[in-house]
């Protein structure tokens, strides 16, 4: 098999993977995770909306648009918090902030989950917006949905 044929074969496999039920989920979710991860390098957290929008544009269904945005960011932010705590020892900060707001540290250990959830909801909501925008302005890419 020539390299051109190999390439065509690979693309074919990817294309066929993307139209499978799993592929329809994993592709936008992966893109959201990658974009959200890259955006942590930029000191403007609000850009996470961009990750969600891209996920929504790539999603084939409205449900997938939200969930890809949500889980893509939730997982990425969660990993970010974990890595930063391990790298810099900053786990003490949410404990102190919890004590500052609630009078004790008990909520602190859950802050990273709460913040990841919030990031996920923002990104997921942006996914919806992205999906609707796509459906309005790029109808040719619409799949047979709803």
């Amino acid at each position: 098999m020539s390299s051109e044929e190999k390439s065509q074969d690979l693309m074919g496999k990817i294309s066929s993977l993307l139209v499978t039920p799993w592929g329809q989920w994993l592709f936008p979710l992966g893109i959201v995770a990658i974009v959200a991860g890259l955006l942590t390098l930029i000191p403007v957290w609000q850009l996470v909306i961009l990750a969600g929008l891209i996920g929504g544009i790539l999603a084939s269904k409205r449900t997938i648009a939200f969930l890809a945005g949500f889980f893509g960011t939730f997982v990425t932010w969660g990993m970010y918090f974990l890595i930063m705590q391990l790298k810099f020892g900053t786990g003490i900060i949410p404990l102190q902030f919890s004590a500052l707001i609630f009078g004790n540290e008990s909520i602190g250990p859950f802050f990273w989950i709460i913040f990841s959830l919030i990031g996920g909801i923002i990104s997921g909501s942006a996914g919806w917006i992205g999906y609707i925008l796509k459906s309005q302005f790029l109808p040719q890419f619409l799949s047979a949905d709803e």
Binding site: Q46, L47, I122, S125
Partner: protein, 882 residues
């Protein structure tokens, strides 16, 4: 465009709403909290704050002439090795900024009246107060004088150079570190560059902490009620049982007949206010109005709360009393506690072929030389002298631009400031000055005061030593470079304020102590009564009273060197005995002397001392007060025939007491409540008759000791009852009341369970007072009068309360001049001011356990620094681009 379906509209709307609400909600400050997204979400949040320093860091910096190595030891203390002083100063500035940036920011902003620039207009009034103190003005003036002096004086030129290199190091960190500590994030502020003026302002910061006050105003208010004779009876000099700091000017212990104790009780208590009344009768109200206004500022409240604990201990023994044959010096300075603590420990080694220097000490963050510490030749420690360097004046006003000074209509002078306000316009602020100093009564008459009752009284201004160009940084520079007593003295000559008892030791075997600082000489001629002078009361500036006409010459300050007793002690007591030419003119206040008496007793108790012995003295919590006063109580109780079973049980417990204020015991609890109640039992009736119920604090416990020792009985009679009480009755009744209170409070009749630590605890607050960042409270040994001090006041407003103490030893240090490798220290906090850091409060654990850490002073070659004690390393590579 495709026609939008109903589902799309709903989904899009929900998505847009959620996205907008959450994004906006986490991007804006709300409910007093900063924008949470900016703090916690990835990208620009707090997760990358360097909680602890990197294990190894290499920094290239072209401005360094050679390489510098910084080893931090297991407590995070930097040991900085370089080949010239200015490179080491750069590294020190970097390290201090790395560890204490927020503290430095707060200290300079507060001192220089710049809080509004980072916290908005809520701090405007605080800024105005701090500017009115002229700390900012004279920090700048000191800088200008330093720059001018450096043009002709090589030493000042070098001081300026070192300050600049230290400043460069701080600013290199600010530029280098992209993420500032948590406190900056919470406040949503950045950090402007550090400046030499910021460093110079730290001297004003310390001067405020230790010498600012409104004592003259309070004294006048008391005097106005009770008269001069009674005032001098309670607050005159010398106070009872003082063992002076210097030992060459006689001793008060030989004679208990103090001049001011020569009084007629009946005349004093029945005639009421006497003596001269030189001032308008409304003056007391003016002073009360001003002091009440100033008391509302948190910095004043903190000063007044901590006032009784602020002090220090230092002592030095000569080589006749040590193993090494050379002196041992010990010092623990008592200040308000904070996290991070006030002191920054550092070790600087400069291996210059011509001028090698090895410096270890306690630095004020923002200052490049230690205030207390040692080099390879000399060591020195500080305690506060309480020299009176602040006077208040009142003047007759003429109009907005003129007042009467020394009988002549005189125009005010002015200093103008522009106060930067965060999120607001700059505010112009004009400070009005009399001949003596800034006018404070303007605070009562301008827009900040109660507009319904405008101030119409006398003009009130103050003159304060810190309101002048002073040379403390040059003094610290000279201390750090001193190689003998003469060179150290040359440093002391430059030390103006806050005046300190300088305990001194050197490697040649000398010990010395000198209460050091500038003291004004007032023109007290023409006062209507000599007792009104000496800066005790406010002066009538319109009559030309109390002008500062000179300074006590440095060589005339009391001093003791190599005394026959082989030791010297200071613990904020009176500085000199009756033979000193001006024994009553230097201080208007000093401690009751219990700590000094105890330290001297311990130093007299044996003829040989080790570092362990010195640690033991620093940690001593024996109550000299209890040891001296309880015998009178026991006599009273043993002669009584009406003791209850519980009182008898408590008495038996107390009679076996060793007078240690041990947090695990019940005896200290009983004694402390009894002595606190006793003052009221003896004096409350007379003070009530004077209308001065709130001023019982003017009576020292040493005064009670004096009454009991001398059998001065009239005070023990309760003048509000027809019966005539004596001391035995009062002591016994007070004891009964104390026992009843404790039984009720602890809800049991077993006095061994009335644990001192349940009522007396130490708390270490964060600078911001955010509870989550503070530590404690911890049950505590001692009281404010024990050598290891921890203030307690458990009887407040007729109620038994837990006493939470926020101040005490701010460092402990023992240095053997013949065994530098064994020198030790500890601070009640940690090196690093970053919450969550391993070194945020690691030394606090040592401190609470009465332990110390080694200073590693003798490691002068970085190659000798053992791997196991190196926690992290910074390599500064000199002569290269960043």
């Amino acid at each position: 465009m495709k026609k939008m379906q109903k589902n799309d509209i709903i989904t899009g709307s929900i998505g847009l709403l959620l996205c907008t609400l959450l994004t906006v909600g986490f991007s804006l400050p709300m409910m007093g909290l900063p924008a949470l997204g900016g703090i916690f979400f990835p990208g620009d949040g707090v997760w990358e704050i360097p909680i602890d320093v990197q294990e190894t860091l290499t920094i290239s910096e072209a401005s360094l002439s050679a390489d510098v190595t910084v080893y931090r030891d297991s407590y995070g203390v930097p040991h900085i090795y370089g080949t010239n002083e200015s490179d080491v100063m750069f590294a020190l500035g970097y390290c201090q900024a790395q560890d204490r940036l927020f503290m430095m920011e707060m200290a300079r902003r507060m001192t220089r009246g710049q809080m509004s620039s980072i916290m908005g207009d809520s701090m405007l009034e605080t800024d105005r107060l701090n500017l009115a103190m002229l700390k900012e003005h004279y920090s700048v003036q000191t800088y200008l004088a330093l720059v001018e002096g450096a043009k002709t004086d090589p030493e000042l030129e070098d001081v300026l150079l070192q300050l600049q290199r230290f400043t460069d190091g701080v600013n290199f960190f600010i530029d280098y570190e992209s993420i500032l500590p948590l406190e900056f994030q919470l406040l949503g502020i950045g950090m402007d560059h550090w400046s030499i003026v910021d460093t110079l302002s730290m001297a004003k910061y310390m001067a405020e902490d230790l010498t600012w006050g409104m004592d003259d105003l309070y004294n006048y208010m008391v005097y106005d009620e009770i008269g001069l004779t009674a005032f001098n009876y309670f607050a005159g000099h010398p106070r009872p049982y003082q063992e002076p700091v210097t030992v060459d000017y006689g001793n008060y212990l030989d004679n208990e007949s103090y001049i001011h104790m020569d009084y007629n009780f009946t005349q004093l208590t029945e005639l009421g206010p006497q003596g001269a009344q030189p001032a308008p009768s409304s003056l007391k109200d003016n002073f009360a109005e001003l002091s009440t206004f100033l008391e509302e500022f948190p910095q004043e409240q903190r000063r007044q709360e901590l006032g009784p604990i602020i002090g220090s201990n230092n002592w030095v023994v000569d080589g006749n009393m040590t193993d090494s044959g050379l002196p041992i010096i010990a010092n623990d300075m008592h200040l308000g506690w904070n996290l991070p603590g006030i002191w920054y420990q550092a070790h600087l080694v400069i291996s210059d072929d011509e001028n090698s220097l090895n410096i270890w000490g306690f630095f004020l963050p923002g200052v490049p030389y230690p205030l207390v510490g040692q080099n390879q030749y000399v060591a020195w420690g500080f305690t506060n002298t309480n020299y009176d360097v602040l006077d208040w004046y009142y003047y007759t006003p003429i109009n907005d631009t003129h007042y009467i000074h020394d009988g002549v209509a005189t125009a005010y002078e002015y200093i103008n400031h522009s106060i930067e306000v965060m999120n607001g316009n700059d505010i112009e602020y004009q400070i009005k000055l009399t001949k003596e100093g800034p006018v404070f009564s303007d605070f009562l008459s301008d827009s900040f005061s109660d507009v319904d009752s405008p101030y119409e009284g006398q003009v009130i201004a103050c003159q304060w030593l810190a309101q002048s160009v002073t040379w403390e940084l040059q003094a610290f520079y000279r201390y750090a470079h001193a190689t003998n007593r003469a060179e150290f003295n040359a440093g002391s000559e430059k030390f103006a304020t806050p005046a300190q008892n300088h305990a001194y030791a050197d490697i040649y075997g000398n010990i010395a102590i000198r209460p050091t600082g500038k003291v004004p000489i007032r023109d007290d001629t023409g006062l209507s009564h000599p007792g009104l002078g000496n800066g005790t009361f406010p002066y009538n500036g319109s009559a030309g009273e109390g002008a500062w006409i000179g300074w006590v010459p440095f060589e005339d300050l009391p001093e003791s060197i190599n005394p026959d007793q082989h030791y010297l002690t200071s613990a904020n007591q009176i500085v000199a005995g009756p033979d000193y030419l001006a024994s009553n003119s230097l201080q208007t206040d000093y401690s009751q002397g219990y700590r000094a008496r105890r330290i001297n007793t311990l130093l007299r108790s044996q003829d040989h001392f080790t570092i362990a012995d010195m640690k033991s003295i620093q940690l001593d919590t024996y109550s000299t007060k209890a040891g001296n006063l309880t015998s009178f109580l026991f006599d009273s109780l043993n002669s009584a025939n009406d003791l209850s079973t519980l009182e008898q049980t408590v008495l038996e417990m107390m009679e076996d007491w060793n007078f240690q204020m041990d947090q695990t015991k019940g005896e200290p609890t009983v004694f402390q409540l009894w002595i606190e109640m006793l003052k009221g039992s003896i004096f409350a009736d007379e003070f009530a008759a004077w209308g001065m119920e709130d001023y019982l604090g003017y009576v020292a416990d040493a005064h009670i000791e004096y009454l009991l020792r001398t059998g001065d009985e009239p005070w023990f009679d309760n003048i509000s009852t027809p019966a005539v009480e004596n001391s035995s009755i009062i002591l016994r009744d007070t004891f009964g009341n104390a026992v009843d209170e404790l039984a009720a409070y602890f809800d049991n009749t077993d006095p061994t369970t009335w644990i001192w630590g349940d009522l007396h605890q130490n708390y270490f607050a964060h600078l911001t007072n955010i509870p989550a960042l503070g530590l404690g409270p911890y049950p505590a040994n001692g009281t404010g009068d024990t050598v290891n001090p921890s203030r307690s006041r458990i009887w407040r407003n007729g109620e038994l309360q837990v006493s939470i103490n926020g101040g005490g030893a701010s460092e402990r240090w023992v240095c053997d001049m013949g065994a530098f490798d064994q020198s030790v220290s500890v601070v009640p906090s940690g090196q690093r001011g970053v919450p969550g850091s391993e070194h945020y409060a690691d030394q606090l654990a040592l401190f609470l356990a009465g332990e110390y850490h080694l200073n590693y002073f003798t490691i002068v070659d970085p190659e000798d620094f053992a791997e196991e004690i190196i926690e992290s390393t910074i390599y500064f590579i000199g002569g290269t681009s960043a």
